[in-house]
């Protein structure tokens, strides 16, 4: 009430003053009253201003007006005044500054108009201050009831047009107001609601208007809702984030469900955990945005600062970065749905090869977490030999095998689970290191590798505890593996050499199985020989074992290590009927754990084969030497020649000579072959193997070296597959030589008998009656011989010798043809180099000359 009173009082005063301004007309009280009433009427009719309450804009427009009128100095002065005026704040200052400015403006304009007006005036009543913008010359239409007869063009006074608002800047305000109306019409739903709905959609929840549409597989605004097309499209674009979120969340919840069934491995779990972390960041952002979305969105006409509001456009800016990240996550989720373990890590790693730093950083963090279980597994495998892999995600697979095949078959690499940032060679090293630890633990019962492991870790700069390594530190991992591999390999080889005396055993095998210990072999053959001529099924291996023992004791082998001698045994191979002992006899060496990793069953079988061959060769040599013992000239044989007839003598001599020649040839062949095998093959291979043993860095190298050694022996001794023909020829030759030996035996037996007969018949008056009597006793049919006389004897001798001669000739011919065939094949061999053998056998080129086609 007081307010109103005050207002009324002020108005009264105003009226008085205004009326009294005109000095000509003394104001009467009635006039004053009337005017007062009038004034109040005016004031009560217009309550709301039509313009935006922005004092700065008004001041601007005034300034501009002044400037356009050419009063630029005044404009500057005005600007100055306005700044001072506007800076006045606090008690006592004017609050509605804009109102004051506007008032001044309008009054000045009115005055101007009044001054420039001529008689007839266009009614520019109160509607002058309301509504339409000032239209300049061009547009002059609009309000009816305008008399166009005013032609006067004045500044600020338009051509007969109702100047409804004299403020040109009101165009903007008016247009904006129109737009606001339009927007309200077009949008059934306000933007704030849409923004909130979009925010819900981006968390996978259906909003009031934005729902998930299964047919389109996306979040959409229902078509029935009337929104402008631009808004619809914007909402759709923003809801892509919601779709991606749904996908990622779906994967996470699926994995969590499957976890109890042990289908999702540790890597998969790490992946889910990393994704959930990312999503929690995302939720934080959404929470902030939701808080902001509660602020109302001001329409363009309202310039009030209503706090941080959230419009669809602002939302799209906020969503730019999360969209990129969510897209990445969705792609990864798609890729990794079917993968597990190392394969999953490798696939994610491939996606991390990206140039954009945001993507790169994001992927790096993700991979750090995803690969940590893998790196853990590698670390524990490499430093402790433990394979803690419940879900089969590691790229090393183990299977339970016997101790002797632990090295070769116990563990292998699974290429599918090998992530792409671990190279093949590194993977091999990892495999070998863990295998070595397990080997040491199981086969060698050695505990020293733990020290080696800690040393390795210290050298590589990491610890043996968990969590030492992470993704992106592949170099660190590599150095750790290399250090560990180096030390453990060295340790393993030390154990093999020192504790288990690998080298000594190899040497022992060479000496016994490969007949390196010559004197032992000689004794053995001497003792065992007669036994082995029996049929195989009558021989007892027990007896042979005893013979073996005695052979060892009588040779240098007795000074050898007891442990080694214990392992040497006789073995009778499975035989059929008709086999002689020679065919089934063999020696064997018992290599126990861990050496039977090297000397496996198949390896020992090969050694056996070589042994058989060498044994046969020795036997042949032995046979020939035995023949020599019979054949060497002695007084017994030479004495008899004097007494015989010349024809027989001649025959005898020629036979003997032929026999001798053949023996020489055979001996030459056999001894050269023997020499070749012993020195060119066995010793050379052994020295190569020794060198490689020295240079070997790990057990794999050692195994490879040993294989190479055996292979070279097998190939060079013509036992390989491609030398089958040569091998067969050789064996036929051996058989032939043995036949020869038996012939020679028979021949010399016959000669001895003949000579004993001759001696007896020719020398009756000798002093040594006792010896003669002995001789007499020995003869089977004394009467038959003596009674026949010399002629019968000669005849018999001649016949005998002739038969023998023929046999010898046959043997000789066969032998020479076979040998020729054998030698001709030697230079043709392409897989082995037999030139040394050829050289030895044919160094005088005797055979080449004999048969020029060779």
């Amino acid at each position: 009430m007081e307010e109103e009173h005050r207002v009324t009082d002020l108005i009264k005063e105003l009226v008085l003053r205004l009326l009294s301004q005109n000095p000509q007309n003394p104001s009467s009280s009635i006039d004053t009253q009337k005017s007062l009433r009038y004034a109040i009427r005016i004031l009560s009719s217009l309550m709301t201003p039509s313009i935006a309450p922005d004092s700065a804009a008004i001041a601007e427009s005034i300034k501009r007006q002044l400037a356009t009128q050419g009063k630029s100095s005044q404009a500057l002065a005005f600007a100055d005044l306005y700044t001072k005026f506007a800076s006045k704040n606090g008690p006592g200052s004017i609050e509605n500054k804009w109102a004051v400015l506007y008032l001044l403006k309008v009054i000045s304009e009115d005055r101007k108009n009044q001054k420039s007006r001529s008689d007839s005036r266009v009614s520019s009543g109160f509607s002058a201050s309301v509504g339409l913008p000032a239209l300049f010359d061009a547009e002059s239409g609009g309000y009816s009831g305008v008399s166009r007869n005013r032609e006067t063009l004045e500044k600020g006074w338009n051509n007969g047009v109702l100047l409804v608002s004299k403020d040109p800047e009101n165009i903007r305000e008016i247009a904006v107001r129109e737009f606001a109306n339009l927007v309200k019409e077009e949008n059934e739903v306000s933007e704030e609601v849409l923004v909130r709905d979009v925010l819900y959609a981006c968390q996978g929840i259906d909003g009031k208007y934005v729902k998930f549409d299964k047919s389109v597989d996306g979040y959409l605004l229902r078509d029935s809702i009337k929104v402008p097309r631009a808004t619809r499209i914007t909402v759709q674009k923003l809801c892509e984030l919601g779709w991606l979120f749904r996908k990622v969340k779906g994967y996470i919840s699926e994995s969590m469900d499957r976890f109890p069934a042990e289908d999702v491995g540790t890597v998969g779990q790490a992946f889910c955990a990393a994704l959930q972390d990312e999503l929690s960041h995302y939720y934080k952002l959404l929470a902030v945005l939701e808080a902001q979305s509660m602020n109302p969105i001001p329409l363009v006409s309202e310039m009030a600062n209503s706090g941080n509001y959230l419009s669809l456009r602002r939302l799209s800016v906020w969503f730019a970065e999360p969209m990129v990240k969510m897209r990445l996550m969705a792609v990864l989720v798609d890729k990794c749905r079917v993968l597990r373990g190392g394969a999953m890590a490798g696939a994610i790693h491939l996606h991390a090869q990206h140039g954009d730093p945001l993507v790169h950083e994001f992927m790096r963090q993700l991979l750090c977490r995803v690969c940590s279980p893998l790196f853990e597994m590698v670390r524990s495998w490499v430093l402790e030999g433990e394979l803690e892999d419940i879900f089969a995600e590691f790229f090393v697979l183990g299977q339970p095998v016997k101790a002797e095949s632990l090295w070769r078959e116990g563990y292998r690499l699974h290429a599918g689970m090998l992530p792409s940032f671990i190279s093949q060679s590194l993977a091999q090293r990892i495999l070998r290191t863990g295998k070595s630890i397990n080997f040491l633990r199981v086969c060698c019962e050695d505990r020293g590798w733990a020290d080696a492991a800690t040393e390795a870790a210290a050298a590589a700069g990491t610890t043996t505890r968990r969590g030492g390594l992470g993704y992106g530190e592949t170099d660190a991992l590599e150095s750790l593996v290399i250090e560990a591999a180096k030390r453990i390999d060295k340790h393993l080889l030390d154990v093999m050499y020192k504790q288990y005396k690998f080298k000594e055993h190899c040497l022992a095998i060479k000496r016994y199985l490969l007949l390196g210990q010559g004197d032992f072999v000689q004794y053995l053959m001497d003792i065992v020989g007669p036994e082995l001529s029996e049929p195989a099924n009558t021989i007892s291996s027990f007896k042979l074992a005893g013979l073996l023992e005695s052979a060892i004791r009588s040779s240098n082998a007795q000074y050898d290590d007891r442990d080694i001698l214990d392992r040497l045994r006789v073995k009778m191979m499975p035989h059929g009927t008709g086999d002689r002992g020679w065919d089934v006899f063999s020696l064997e060496y018992d290599a126990r754990v861990p050496l039977n990793t090297v000397f496996t069953e198949s390896v020992m079988a090969r050694y056996l084969r070589i042994f058989n061959f060498l044994w046969k060769l020795r036997r042949v040599e032995h046979a020939l030497i035995g023949a020599w013992k019979t054949m060497k000239p002695n007084c017994i044989t030479s004495n008899s020649f004097i007494k015989l007839q010349s024809a027989v003598k001649l025959q005898l001599l020629s036979t003997l000579r032929r026999c001798q020649v053949l023996w020489d040839e055979m001996n030459h062949f056999v001894s050269n072959l023997q020499y070749y095998i012993m020195f060119e093959v066995l010793e050379v291979s052994w020295s190569n193997f020794s060198n490689e043993m020295e240079a070997a860095k790990d057990l794999d190298d050692l195994l490879a070296a040993h294989d190479k050694y055996l292979n070279s022996i097998v190939e060079k001794s013509l036992l390989g597959e491609r030398s089958q023909n040569l091998y067969k020829t050789l064996f036929v030759l051996f058989d032939l030589i043995l036949r020869f030996r038996s012939h020679v035996d028979r021949l010399y037996e016959g000669i001895h008998e003949l000579q004993s007969r001759t001696m007896e018949s020719l020398s009756p008056s000798r002093d040594k009656t006792r010896s003669r009597r002995l001789l007499n006793d020995k003869t089977a049919e004394p009467g038959a011989w003596i009674s026949d006389g010399r002629k019968a004897l000669t005849q018999r001798a001649g016949e005998f010798l002739r038969n023998m001669g023929q046999d010898l000739d046959a043997i000789a011919k066969e032998y020479s043809s076979l040998l020729e065939g054998f030698i001709s094949q030697l230079p043709v061999q392409q897989h082995i180099d037999l030139k040394f053998l050829l050289f030895r056998l044919d160094f005088t080129e005797f055979y080449c000359q004999l048969h020029p086609n060779m």
């Binding site: 105003l14 006045k88 606090g90 200052s93 009054i107 005055r111």
Partner: protein, 73 residues
Amino acid sequence: MDPEAAQTARESLELAFHMSNILDTGLDRRTLSVLITLCDLGLNPEALAAVVKELRRESCSSSPMPETPSSVS
């Protein structure tokens, strides 16, 4: 009214008076202060301007030139 507020008010009035002189409104200090007070109380400045105009016209019309008051629409 404390002296500081009075000072502020005086200065504001001065500034407004200068501004009104530049704009050639023909208002004197007293009238201007009344008008400012009325504006501050929340009255529509357009309406006030209209009052000023009409009353001036009336005062002019009471002089020899007769004017028909315009209709209020």
